[in-house]
């Protein structure tokens, strides 16, 4: 076991997979010479060379589109979109091309490709650079969408994503690259489409993913002092969505809080709550609480920005509320 950061975990996964299979290559804006704007691909160009570490023009549709073509043609590309906010410029290729290729040609084509991209707000980058639109991408069958909450899961999930033959959107979070966690030694993968209980507790089920996982852990420590033990279920994958551990936990606690960084309306919480009501109606002892971003475009001003974003305290309050 080693304790490493989220950034290191992702970087290691990429490096190890590129070593393992020469068909794996990366492309994106500033991934080569610059070393990646979040330093994830620092050192890759020197080691793997310009053929396999490709700096692209600023052309998101081409970055994703050419990854699709390269994957169909036999390579295993890992494309990077500098932030998920730029994914909209490649929207057609992500949800309308990549997600459909295997299906609409009767299974002839395989897309062993990964799109890595960080989302999230909190660095005063203002409205168009700070979004968490994960739910939108999770809406489309044919695409796999994962968003790890711990370094161990980040490393294992990225390796798995690279190794499978389906297109995967791998969503990172820009403000937790320094988050530390224990990561197993050696080669390991984490299955896509499996949620995980990250912390056990008997009073409230807290469903979270990505940045809300470390936030929930902090909330857990605060609540434990009041004698409240929360159980944190980390979704890890948004599509496919694994509700089994969530429902099992809910049948135990009868009360749930769902935490996400995106907006509340039409968000991940909407789907998870609907499924809990569907699959565990007779176990519901209180309405499910959702912790999410306030329904506003994110402002530049630091204080206002933090007011809009969901905080640890919001999770704590929601847990107390659901226990009323």
């Amino acid at each position: 076991m080693a304790v490493i950061t989220m950034r290191e975990a992702i970087s290691q996964a990429l490096w190890e997979e590129m070593e393992r299979d020469e068909k794996v290559f990366i492309q994106g804006e500033e991934v080569g010479v610059w070393g990646g704007t979040y330093a994830v691909t620092k050192g890759f160009l020197d080691h793997f060379g310009a053929e396999r570490v490709r700096d692209t023009p600023i052309a998101e549709a081409a970055i994703v589109g050419s990854a699709i073509g390269a994957a169909m043609g036999g390579m295993r590309p890992v494309a990077e979109l500098m932030t998920i906010n730029f994914a909209f410029a490649a929207m057609d290729h992500i949800v309308n091309e990549a997600a459909k290729m295997h299906y609409m040609f009767g299974g002839q084509f395989r897309l062993p490709m990964v799109i890595r991209t960080p989302g999230g707000g909190g660095r005063q980058l203002a409205a168009t650079h700070s979004q968490t639109p994960d739910a939108i991408f999770a809406h489309f069958p044919g695409l796999k969408v994962v968003a790890p909450g711990t370094p161990a899961d980040a490393k294992g999930l990225l390796k798995e994503a690279i190794r499978i033959d389906d297109p995967v959107l791998f969503i990172e979070n820009a403000t937790v690259y320094q988050q530390k966690g224990e990561v197993p030694d050696g080669d390991f993968t984490v299955p896509i489409g499996k949620s995980k209980v990250q912390r056990e507790g008997q009073h409230v089920t807290v469903v979270a993913y990505s940045k809300m996982v470390p936030y929930s852990m902090q909330a857990a420590d605060i609540l434990a002092k009041e004698g409240i033990e929360i159980e944190i279920v980390d979704l890890r994958s948004l599509r496919p969505l694994d509700m089994d551990p969530v429902v099992a936990s809910f049948k135990k606690t009868n009360r749930a809080v769902i935490a996400e960084e995106g907006w509340r309306s039409f968000g991940v919480g909407s789907e998870v709550a609907a499924r809990i009501y569907e699959e565990a109606f007779d176990y519901v002892d209180a309405p499910i609480q959702r912790v999410a971003q306030k329904e506003v475009p994110l402002p530049y001003n630091a204080r206002l920005e933090q007011l809009a974003l969901p905080q640890v305290e919001d999770i704590v309050k929601a847990v107390r509320e659901v226990l009323r």
Partner: protein
């Protein structure tokens, strides 16, 4: 609009009922779904909900009065409504003249569509979480008697569990027994329930040719198994000896269809389901709760169901389906240190099994004197349906299940 409430039909063969108790007094407001009165039938005392919202304008009958199904019993009107009470009552009484046969058709429960409920607000509904509702139903608790401590007065799990605990405590306490005051004769009117039991069993005794067979069972293994099983279970889920016997009898009956049967005229109906009735003592009488398909349910499920039904009986909230459909009855007086006894068959069943207490007594095993647990059981059987040999075979077959408890889990 003023509405007449009538004596409801609470069972398929109910002809008359007694207004045992008014829950809502005259001039008290009532919501749709709230309890208006308690009605006593020959089977049980049942709470009756009001189909109307408004003010209980008038009680038309006194407590303790028996009357046919369909008889007007109360008037519920809108708040502030002017009602010509005499006219309504006269009209209602005139309508109640027709013979009982027709009334049976007319007095089926009011369909919800007919109600025009005005001023519908949140306060009409009892706010309870789905979980609380489910627990309350399982435990036979009435939500309207539980105080909710959740937001907005919502009843939640902790409220129902609290109510269940205090309920079981009060259920255990027995009603003060009657005592004889020297020299004073006391005259008591027989309750409907007692009347019903009396007429049914008189008929049984007079028309059914009973014969009896007593067997003694070595219940040592059964008691040991029960102890082991209960070690792993929480206090309110423990299995009783009676639960074992229910399952044992059900499994034994599989090979004796004649004993799981009813006589209807000259047709013998051998029932496809084995529904074991268990006699439960109540104030002034006896009710039989029924564990349906007892041969197909695991022991723990039989135990849960029997417990829940017995609790409902003791709380006076028994459901119709709890007491109907029995194909074979067990009467257990073992808790009173009874050696053995003979029971009267519950018509139209073919037989009834009377269970005595399990006792440690001297026994002979392999020519040596030893101490063993023994229990006596006596079957009363209907000689029109079966005969001594068959009934005796049944009692012998029952031995397998009473003495080898592993068979109950197979």
């Amino acid at each position: 609009m003023a509405n007449i409430v009538e004596m409801p039909k609470l069972g398929f063969d109910m002809a008359e009922g007694t207004l045992a108790k008014w829950v809502k007094s005259e001039n008290e407001p009532i919501e749709k779904g709230e309890i208006l009165a308690e009605i006593e039938t020959d089977k049980a005392t049942v709470e009756v909900e009001s189909s109307y919202a408004g003010i209980v304008l008038k009680h038309l009958v006194d407590e303790g009065t028996a009357m046919p199904v369909g008889t007007p019993i109360a008037v519920v009107a809108d708040e502030g409504e002017e009602v010509d009470l005499d006219a309504i009552v006269k009209e209602a009484n005139a309508e109640s003249e027709p013979p009982a046969e027709e009334e049976k058709a007319e007095t089926s429960p009011e369909p919800a569509a007919k109600e025009v409920v005005e001023n519908q607000s949140d306060s009409e509904f009892i706010k309870a979480s789905p979980l609380a509702k489910r627990i309350a139903e399982d435990k036979g608790l009435n939500l309207s008697t539980i105080k909710g401590t959740g937001p907005g007065g919502r009843i939640v799990k902790r409220d129902v569990e609290k109510a269940a605990q205090s309920q079981s405590r009060s259920a255990i306490s027995t009603t003060p027994k009657a005592q004889i005051t020297p020299g004073v004769d006391e005259e008591i009117k027989i309750s409907n329930l007692r009347k019903a039991i009396g007429s049914r069993l008189t008929e049984s005794r007079q028309s059914v040719p009973h014969f009896y067979i007593t067997s003694m069972y070595d219940v040592g293994e059964m008691l040991k198994t029960r102890k082991q099983l209960n070690e792993g279970l929480p206090k309110d889920e423990r299995v009783s000896v009676n639960d074992f016997i229910i399952r044992a009898v059900a499994l034994a009956l599989r090979d004796f269809p004649n004993l799981n049967a009813s006589l209807s005229g000259e047709t013998l109906i051998r029932h496809g389901d084995i529904n074991v009735g268990v006699a439960v003592a109540v104030d002034n009488g006896l009710l039989t709760v029924v564990v349906k398909n007892a041969d197909q349910k695991p022991l723990t499920q039989i135990s849960q169901e029997a417990n829940a039904m017995i609790n409902r009986v003791k709380a006076g909230k028994v459901k119709n389906e709890d007491i109907e459909g029995s194909t074979f009855t067990i009467s257990n007086l073992g808790m009173f240190n009874v050696e053995d006894f003979v029971a009267i068959i519950n018509p139209p069943e073919a037989a009834i099994l009377a269970i005595g207490s399990a006792k440690e007594i001297p026994v002979v095993v392999n020519g040596k004197l030893d101490i063993g647990w023994r229990m006596r059981a006596t079957i009363s059987a209907d000689h029109r349906i079966t005969d001594g040999a068959e009934a005796a075979e049944f009692m012998q077959h029952l031995e397998l299940f009473m003495e080898q408890p592993w068979r109950l889990f197979a």
